[in-house]
Amino acid sequence: MEVVSLMLTDKNTAYIRHKISLRITPEEKPVQSFNSDPLLNPCRQVSSALYRFPARKTAGELTDKLRESISDMLSYFPMVTGRLLRTSDGDWTVKCNDAGLRMVEAKVMKGSVEKWLRNVDRKKELKLVHWEEMFYKPYFWSTFYVQITEFEGGGLAIGLSCTRLLSDPICATMMIKAWADTTLIGEITSPPLFRLLPVPNRNTNHHSSSLIDRHKSYLTSSPVPKSDSNTKQITTITLQFNQETVKKLCIAMVNDVNGRGPGPTPFQALAGLFWTCISRAKGMKRGLVDMSVCLDMRKALGLDKGFFGNSKRWDWTRAFSETPWCTISGCDDDHLICVDLENVDCYSAVFEENVVPIRVSYYMDGPGVGAGQILVMPAPGGGDGPESRVVAVTLPEDEAEKVLEDSLIRQLGPITLMGLNKNPN
């Protein structure tokens, strides 16, 4: 089998450039202040979208087109091209000085997107995105990075990296959609909104999901055997569950809690499933590992869908279902993180007529993202129904293997979109 190598020129020496917007907006916009210090916490998050395009006559033609349209798009996102500044209170603020975001242009020689997908793993997929750690002077550090990778055999990958200080996966998706709209039709269908988040309300009602009720019987949690995850290889596996499977799972859960309350959403059902499997993989004989759930609070906070900023809030969930507010820094390294992206419309970013993304992934990096991640997303191309889902699980390699072998998972018969780390190439 042909192994397709991603031939990137040394990222430090070529093809990185600034993309600026078409307008001049020199002003300062305050950023939701977090106690976490980005200097210690690069906290990047990343999303990448992969497209299958017919092979082009001229190499780089697509990149040229996208280069022009991104500038257009950036006119609507002044915060993206700004730079971080410390205020006198020690908070962060964004100066919208139009310094630009950094863009990397890369090529994959010899190969099409399909071939690449057959061999993809976490390491390879992360090559499609670019990130730079914070420069010693934050004012000269770009908070957003875009990588355009053209496949010689036809295909395009777009990778977007950004700091969690300024955006969440939904914003990243919004940006890519806006870029696609600008390329395809020349204007943005839903411009973003920039404002501060309201102060968190301690009384916000959280549905204690049946997920937690189900596992209430495990009241005492035994300490998690400390695995030295620093030395282990982290890998990400992506599994697709079709409509029927997910429906069955939800019904099974309702039955389990004797029909009390509303049925779980596909996210809750899958999150619960993986929580159990991962806990087992981590060696918990009884009880579950601590897990934090990350939800989009736009609706709860009364924000517009177009809100641009990090409105994902972590819920620190323990088996005895106390759900206090918790900012990112409050999360321990030992927690499992579960992110709800099932309502994110990630496949609607269309850059060219009839060319939809064939694969979209999200990654979260940096300290504070826990001992593992579960991301629940919609399935590509709508899957075979509105309830089909893709779950991306990031764990140390051995635990991931155990999860894949877990009987609960195997019973459901998911399609493996991305398996364990392949040989390094």
Partner: protein, 495 residues
Amino acid sequence: MPETTAAPPNSPTTVKLKYVKLVYQYLVNHILTLALIPLLLSLLRVGPTEILSLYNSLHLNPVQILCSAFLAVLISTVYFMSKPRSIYLVDYSCYKPPVTCRVPFSTFMEHSRLILNQNPKSVDFQMRILERSGLGEETCLPPAIHYIPPTPTMEAARGEAELVIFSSIDSLMHKTGIKPKDIDILIVNCSLFSPTPSLSAMVVNKYKLRSNIKSYNLSGMGCSAGLISIDLARDLLQVHPNSNALVVSTEIITPNYYQGSERAMLLPNCLFRMGGAAVLLSNKRRDAARAKYRLVHVVRTHKGADDKAYTCVYEQEDPQGKVGINLSKDLMVIAGEALKSNITTIGPLVLPASEQLLFLLTLIGRKIFNPKWKAYIPDFKLAFEHFCIHAGGRAVIDELQRNLQLSAEHVEASRMTLHRFGNTSSSSLWYELGYIEAKGRMKKGDRVWQIAFGSGFKCNSAVWKCNRTIKTPADGPWTDCIHRYPVHIPEIVKL
């Protein structure tokens, strides 16, 4: 140049002096007319019959009359034959870079910091230059320079050349309606990028110009090369009757972005920006009606004989082997001297008699009576309505404004061009002319003085006379932003 002593502006002495000067100027400039009036009056008093009897008393026979007539015809023929052809500027077109090439201050500084991260002192120096440069946030650099680090390949340089030159020429052809086969003379000037085949060959290839075209490519002649090309075109149009000349002036930034850290060589990076212009000149009589300007004078001054002047703008390698242009600290002084030389030559050609007389008298006085008398600086505002000073940098414009005693409005075109487009080298004069037209200030009969400085050290001037009142153009590089100008440019911009 020393300044004349200035009394307080609104005192009675100054006002009286102004009136005296005005009367003096009117008298001297119209002396011929004034001398003719008594002659006319005496003729009228004499009466027609007396003139006729005077004529009869001369007893001229037919042969003598015929010979005189022949002589008159001969003299007038010789005069008309030897009179230089009028050179008309039919139209010109300036390149407007795409907004995606824009380099705001923040981007430029960040680039500098990332590329020169080993030399923070050099970065600070660049920042100080940029703060005081007089440039705005909309100046553009070519795509290759946006990369970190820049990727100045030959292909990228050719790409920039094609983009700038072809866009300008396309726009010019659209405006004037000229066909490629009608171009008889082609002159392209670009100082720092000189590939083989030349840029003029590139133009011939793209537009399929005639095989007997007279094409020239001037390189290495600095920012004053635009006027050198105009001078060359003028000389060629004297020799070739009924012809068109296409002059393209540009500077290709891509291969010349200095990547080292020597301070004296970092200055051009801060100031030079993308730009270009294409100009159509003609000596055809039928273009006289539609042409915008008529070329009156071109005066070229070369100070290269002086070693200091020769080395003040010098391309060399820095200690690390990186090539850049070294600007010496004496640049402004040398520029002032070159300007003085140029003015001494152009003054007699353009100044009204009153100013020339004053200058002559002061000169004689200084030589014979008292060398301590202040030299008289002629008032060029009497000779020209508009001034286009090469937007080499804020210091150049300030220096010339002071030397020539120009008002802020006179140098507005230069300052605003520097702000909007940066230093586009040889094409900046055309952007400035475009600004004046865009503001609707160009009327028929207005005289324009274009002054350019360049490496060598050269100071070149061109004088144009406006042929017809020019309506505000519907296209051009200024159309979308002229309403915002003039802007106030602070002494130091806070970065």
